[in-house]
Subunit: 385 residues, 2 copies
C-alpha cells in the first residue's frame, strides 16, 4: 500500500425527503445563491422544493449552467455573487452544476484573473465561498469531492481544478430526485462512475486489499443495478444504490494508497471539448482502448478484475484479459452508450487535432507509469475508431 | 436502504514515517498534552519519535492510561489539562488511550460532574478540546470515529459515549508502529474489527448493496491476513491492511443506511467490567451465541455472509447458516482467541450478575429488532458456557 492522506469533511444527508433539512444545513444568517442548470429543475418541481426547504430566506437564483459548464457562463454567476453580497452557494443539479459552483466559489474570492484557477489546476486558490449541493444526477461524484472541470468555450479547452477549500459543506442525496432523468443521462452516469472506479483500480498491484475489495464491490453493484437503473426509473433501491456508488466512486476513498490512471478522462475531455460528445460517451470509447493498449502493464489487475468482477476464470491469461476488456465494452453498449468514435461519425482525421490539444494542455505523460505519450494516445485513439 | 447522515472529518495520515508530520498537524501555537498507556510507548521509542515529530514544542505527558481506561485515571488527566492550560491533546496508543483522550477532551470542558458524560451517552457534551491520535494498535477504530468507552472501576460499569465534537482532527496510522505488539493484542485487534463489521452487517437486508459489499470486503481481508498478522509481525503490507481495515470497520461508512446490532458489544462490556476479560475475548465468546440465538431473524444475511465471505454454497439453508456460524467461531479460535466462557473458568453462576448489570445499565432491548431482552441475554450467555 502506498502512503496516503485521506480527508473528506463533506456531510452526506441521504434519503427521500432530505431536501426539507436545507434550512438547518445552510448557516442561519447566510445570503444564499441557488445555482442550477436548465429548465428541468423548474419543471420537475425540485427548484421549488429547494426554495421551500430553505424556509424564509431570500434566496437568489442563477440558472442556465450548461453540461460541461463554461468559464463564460460561470463568470456571469461570479458577477452576481459579487454584486449581491452572496456568501453561500447552493448547487442544485448534477456534476456540471456542482463543478460550476465550485469554480464560482473559488473565482468569487479570487483577486486576479480567475482563468488562472484552471491553468494552475486550482493551486492558486487561497479562499472560497462555502457551498452545499442538492444532487439530482448520480454520476460524477462531485458532490463528495473537492475537484471540478470547467470548459472555456472560446478556445475549446476543458480543464480540471481542485483545492482543499472546495469540498461541499453538505450534499443532499435524495434518490427520488433522479426519477425524472432522461435515460441517456442515467446511462451516462453509470458509465462515468464505472470509469472513475476503474481508473483508481486497474493499474498495478500494491497489496492494497481493502481498496481493491471496495472498488470491486462498487463495480459489481453497478453491473447488478445498471439494467434496472434504465428499466425501472422509479425503483427507489436501485436509484439509491446508484447514487451512493457514484459518490463513493470518487470521494478519495478507493483511490487512497493506490496508483491511479486518469488517461481515459484526460483523452476524453479533449473529445468533448473539440467534438461535443457527452463526457461519459467519451469515456466509454476511450477506456477499452486504454486497457487494451496497457494490457501488459495492467495484466495482473486485469486478471483480478476479470475473476472477481466478471467471474472470468477459464482460459489462458491472454484470453482472460481479452474477455475482461470485452465484458467492459459490452456493459457500456448494453446501457446504450456506444464505444467507438465511428458511432459518432468521427473518423481518422479527427485524431490529429485531439493530440494537438493534449500536447497544448501538457497531457504528454499520462497513465500510472507516465508512459502514455502523445504517440501512445494516438495509438489509443486509432484503436477507438 | 435506510436514510442516513454520514460525516467524518478526521484526516488520516497513513504510512511509514508519517509521525514526522506531527509538527504540521498540531496547530502552531498549541500547548499539547501527550496521553499514552504503559511503558511500551517509552520502550519501543514511539514516544520519543512523537516528541521529535512535534518539533520544538514544550509538550506535556500523561502516561498510565490502562486497557479499558478508567474514569478514575482519566480524571487525573483532566486535572493536568486544567492546571497546565493544555489546549490540544495527542493520544499515542490504541483504542483505550484514544477513547480515554476523547473523554478527557470532553471532561476538561464540562462544567458539572463529568460522570454525566457517561450516564447520558455523551448527549450533554457542549464543547471539547481538539485532539489528534498516533495509532499503535489496529483494533477499535476509535482513531476515525467520535465514540469511546470508559470504565468506572469503583462500580464495575463500562459505559459508551459519543459526540459530534469528538472526532480526532487527525490520526497518524503508521503500520510499522504495530510491529512490536504482543501476539495477543494483534489477535484481539483482528477479532474486534471483525465483530465491528459483523454488527453492522449481519442484521436483515435493506438492499444496501454497497454497504454489504464493503462489509464483505473488509471481512474477506481480515480472513486473508489474520494468520500472517500473527505469524509475520513485521510484514508491512499485512499490518497496513490490518490497520486500514480496523479504521474502516467503525468509521460510520459501512453502518450508514443499514440496521445495526450491538448486542454482542453491550453484553461483552459487562463481562469485561465484572470479570476482567479482554474486550475482544468477550466478543469472540458472545458473537457466535448471538448469531445462533438470532439465526432466524438474521437468516437471509447469514446465508449471504456464508456464501460471499466463506464460500458456503452447499447444503440446506439451516446447514449453511450453521456452517457460517461455525466458520466464525473457528476463525477466532484459529487466532488463539477462545470462544467459551468456560475457557476462562467462568461457570453458570457468573451469568446472573451479568444480567443484573445489563438491566442496571438499561440494556434491556438489544439487537436490531430490540428483542434481546434480559431473558434472551440469559439464553445467549448460557449458550456461551
Amino acid at each position: 500500500m502506498l502512503n496516503f492522506d485521506f480527508y473528506n469533511p463533506t456531510r452526506i444527508c441521504f434519503g427521500e425527503g432530505r431536501i426539507k433539512d436545507l434550512d438547518k444545513l445552510v448557516p442561519a444568517n447566510a445570503r444564499p445563491l441557488i445555482l442550477y442548470g436548465g429548465s428541468s429543475a423548474e419543471r420537475t418541481g425540485t427548484l421549488a422544493e429547494v426554495k421551500a426547504g430553505l424556509g424564509d430566506r431570500d434566496a437568489l437564483q442563477f440558472g442556465g449552467i450548461e453540461p460541461n459548464p463554461t468559464f463564460e457562463t460561470l463568470s456571469k454567476a461570479v458577477e452576481v455573487v459579487r454584486n449581491e453580497g452572496v456568501d453561500f452557494l447552493l448547487a442544485v443539479g448534477g456534476g456540471s452544476v456542482i463543478d460550476g459552483t465550485k469554480f464560482v466559489a473559488a473565482a468569487a474570492c479570487y483577486d486576479s484573473d480567475p482563468w488562472e484557477i484552471l491553468t494552475t489546476n486550482g493551486a492558486k486558490i487561497k479562499s472560497a465561498l462555502p457551498f452545499g449541493t442538492v444532487l439530482t444526477l448520480p454520476a460524477t461524484g462531485s458532490e463528495m469531492n473537492n475537484g471540478g472541470v470547467v470548459t472555456r468555450q472560446s478556445i475549446h479547452a476543458k480543464l480540471p481544478f481542485r483545492s482543499k477549500l472546495l469540498f461541499p459543506q453538505f450534499s443532499v442525496l435524495d434518490p427520488t430526485k433522479s426519477y425524472t432523468l432522461p435515460e441517456r443521462q442515467v446511462a451516462n452516469g453509470v458509465v462515468d462512475a464505472f470509469v472513475h472506479i476503474v481508473e483508481q483500480y486497474l493499474t498495478y498491484p500494491v497489496n492494497a486489499r481493502v481498496q481493491d475489495r471496495f472498488a470491486e464491490g462498487l463495480l459489481q453493484t453497478l453491473i447488478e443495478i445498471g439494467p434496472d437503473a434504465l428499466k425501472k426509473p422509479d425503483d427507489y433501491d436501485v436509484r439509491a444504490n446508484l447514487m451512493w456508488v457514484a459518490s463513493l466512486a470518487l470521494n478519495g476513498l478507493i483511490g487512497a494508497g493506490v496508483p491511479q490512471d486518469w488517461a481515459t478522462h484526460m483523452i476524453g475531455h479533449e473529445i468533448t471539448a473539440l467534438y461535443g460528445l457527452d463526457h461519459a460517451q467519451t469515456l466509454a470509447i476511450v477506456l477499452p482502448a486504454v486497457l487494451e493498449h496497457q494490457r501488459e502493464a495492467k495484466g495482473k489487475k486485469l486478471l483480478q478484475y476479470g475473476s472477481r468482477v466478471w467471474g472470468i476464470n477459464d482460459g489462458t491469461e491472454e484470453q482472460r484479459i481479452s474477455a475482461a476488456i470485452s465484458k467492459t465494452r459490452e456493459f457500456f453498449e448494453s446501457l446504450g452508450v456506444r464505444t467507438r468514435l465511428g458511432d459518432y461519425q468521427l473518423q481518422h482525421d479527427t485524431i490529429a487535432p485531439l493530440i494537438a490539444q493534449l500536447e497544448a494542455h501538457g497531457m504528454k505523460k499520462l497513465g500510472e507509469h507516465r508512459d502514455i505519450t502523445p504517440e501512445a494516445s494516438q495509438q489509443i485513439l486509432e484503436a477507438c475508431l
